[in-house]
């Protein structure tokens, strides 16, 4: 079954050659358990186009974490079709999903997930461990990535010596290594004070300006409002708050 409901009507995306959405969910459902079944996601249609900054908002328990897990290939949908960079993920085994995940998605977690015994640089270098990148130049690429988030002067620090904002920027640097197709952020400001959160959003704005595709899950309206497009998920069902066509067109032209 082919469902085009998530496809935008405007044709200018084709002009840039970016005719494929990074993420396309078609009637995706996720049900947990059987007796009684819990419907975490119901018939979700979502397309995220290259260069978009999408925020996904919703109260806790609404299903936004489930959505993130499915988009991030950490979980499998129970119904519907999901194409990531055009690849139907249902056909992939664990190895294939891991490879696709490692190459196309950069994750940013609420709790940063930095290895405490490794320096910031080593943590960033972890990003290339599983994707078949050559060892040669790994350190340089990691430094370049740290430079991109303004953390190159902390490269040799242990993460425990950094502030929360710095740790999260280190995590973003790790996610950016190798130019992912999608930066998938799960409550990235959840552990940060408002000042750190603000400067982190500035980093996101810069990345988005550079053409990176961002999907940010949050329950913070301030964070959500910085995105060009907002979708809301309530009881497993998805609504567009900002129409995909509004305010996003210029991004794809860049």
């Amino acid at each position: 079954m082919i469902d085009l409901s998530g496809a935008p009507a405007d044709g200018h995306r084709l002009a840039g050659g970016l005719d494929k959405p990074v993420v396309r969910l078609s009637k995706v459902s996720r049900t947990f358990g059987a007796d009684p079944p819990v419907h975490a996601l119901r018939d979700v249609d979502l397309a995220i186009w290259p260069g978009e900054w999408v925020s996904i908002v919703g109260p806790s328990g609404s299903g936004k974490s489930t959505l993130l897990n499915i988009v991030g290939l950490l979980d499998r949908q129970t119904a519907g079709m999901y194409r990531l960079v055009g690849v139907d993920v249902a056909a992939l085994d664990d190895l294939g999903r891991a490879g696709l995940r490692g190459r196309t998605i950069g994750f940013v977690f609420q709790a940063f997930h930095l290895l405490p015994h490794r320096t910031v640089l080593e943590n960033v270098m972890l990003a290339e461990l599983y994707v078949g990148a050559p060892r040669h130049g790994r350190q340089e690429r990691a430094r370049a990535s740290l430079n991109r988030v303004g953390l190159d002067d902390r490269a040799d620090f242990l993460p425990t010596k950094l502030s929360g904002g710095q740790q999260q920027r280190a995590a973003i640097a790790r996610a950016l290594v190798g130019e992912p197709s999608l930066l998938l952020c799960d409550e990235p400001t959840g552990n940060l004070d408002s000042h750190s959160a603000e400067s982190l959003l500035d980093v996101f704005a810069q990345l988005s300006h550079d053409g990176l595709t961002l999907a940010v899950i949050t329950h913070d309206d301030k964070v959500a409002s910085r995105a060009g497009r907002q979708v809301r998920i309530v009881d497993g069902a998805l609504d567009e708050l900002t129409p995909p066509s509004a305010g996003n067109g210029q991004v794809h032209g860049s």
Partner: protein, 396 residues
């Protein structure tokens, strides 16, 4: 192919892979993050492999304290004095079978028509030093001395079996026996001898007496007791000391070394070490398994992160297997070294010869690695089975 790859680029669906060198570096970094724990974990394997390594190192005691016999009819009458001068000889004496020409032995005067009163008993001639050389013990009486021999006195010492046959139980009443028709006074009764057990069933007369009464022409053999470890040296010197003109006509009989006893002791020791090693290895394996499992549970967040970075289940399993195998391998190497050092040290302090089997330096690390690999199977399976969603819920 390599040139086409840059960063995460390349086909998005390409299989993830983990280079062996990366895997090894990750493993080392994880182990070195908690060095104390790694050291403690390795200890069990160290002890186990050390004990097993010790099992296969054979200790060979040097030649022990043994008696020596020299037989030939060309021995000089002063053999006892000649041998006694050799350094390392504790005692020496001649022992000769006396040809009594079929004469029977009887006690005096027993008139028992029912019982047998005359016996054919071997008679042996001994120099005074012989009794020390065979470590004879008396139950009563005394031993003949050089004076008896020089004078050719008709005195005898009875072996316990002969004494029982002749019903001689005491010497304070000066019992006498007949050999043929000649009367001999019993001066002592033997109870035990350490060597030449044939003495227990013999009548022993002084060498001089045998010369005079039975025409003994030369000593038949020399019994020698040496100090511990001197036996082989003495054995080489004996022929020269006894017959310098033609040492080759003498036959030196060294009693077989107690190899079987030693082999038995070694076998018991080996099975003890084997048991000890096996138990220690088992404990070591459980220790590694336990620590690796704890490590997995502690690092759930890290596992989740690695999955998010593109690690497949097999890569997670490989990492923890590598860590447990490395622990076992290090334990094997250290254990082989410790085991070898201990055995060499003990052998050196006991003047033993340690023999190191070829498998120890190669096999011990492999054994340790195998133990580590087996220990890591369950924890790594647990780690690989973790769902990334669950794993990422845990903070680091």
């Amino acid at each position: 192919m390599k040139l086409r790859r840059r960063g995460r680029s390349g086909p998005a669906t390409a299989k993830p892979r983990l280079a062996a060198r990366d895997l090894f570096e990750e493993c080392l970094a994880s182990l070195l993050a908690r060095p104390g724990r790694a050291v403690l974990t390795v200890l069990g394997t160290v002890v186990g492999v050390a004990a097993l390594a010790a099992t296969d190192i054979v200790v060979t005691p040097k030649t022990g304290r043994t008696g020596r016999a020299v037989r030939q009819n060309v021995l000089p009458w002063d053999a006892e004095q000649r041998v006694g001068r050799l350094n390392g000889v504790v005692a020496a004496g001649t022992l000769t079978d006396v040809n009594v020409k079929g004469e029977l032995v009887r006690a005096v005067p027993v008139n028992d028509p029912q019982g047998q009163t005359q016996f054919q008993v071997p008679v042996k001639a001994a120099s005074p030093g012989l009794f020390r050389a065979v470590r004879a013990r008396l139950s009563t009486g005394r031993l003949p001395d050089a004076g008896h021999s020089a004078r050719g006195d008709r005195v005898v010492v009875l072996g316990p079996n002969v004494a029982a046959q002749l019903h001689v139980t005491r010497v304070d009443n000066q019992p006498a026996i007949y050999i043929g028709d000649r009367l001999y006074v019993v001066v002592g009764l033997l109870s035990t001898v350490q060597r030449q057990p044939s003495l227990l069933g013999s009548i022993v007369i002084p060498e001089g007496t045998a010369q005079r009464e039975f025409g003994l022409t030369a000593p038949g053999s020399v019994q020698v007791e040496t100090r511990i470890g001197a036996a082989s040296v003495i054995a080489g010197q004996l022929p020269l000391a006894l017959n310098p003109a033609d040492p080759r006509v003498l036959k030196v009989a060294a009693p077989p070394e107690p190899r079987r006893v030693r082999a038995g002791v070694q076998r018991d020791l080996n099975s003890l070490f084997l048991l000890l090693g096996g138990v220690s290895l088992l404990v070591g394996a459980i220790g590694i398994a336990n620590v690796t499992l704890v490590s997995v549970l502690e690092r759930v967040g890290e596992i989740g992160l690695r999955r998010s970075l593109g690690a497949a289940r097999r890569h997670i399993a490989a990492q923890f297997l590598m860590e447990s195998t490395t622990l076992g391998l290090v334990g094997g190497v250290v254990g082989a070294a410790v085991g070898t050092l201990v055995v060499v040290g003990v052998a050196a302090s006991r003047a033993w010869t340690p023999v190191l089997e070829a498998w120890v330096p190669l096999g011990a690390p492999l054994l340790g690695g195998a133990v580590g690999l087996l220990s890591g199977l369950y924890p790594s399976a647990r780690a690989a089975a973790l769902e990334p969603v669950e794993a990422l819920r845990s903070t680091m």
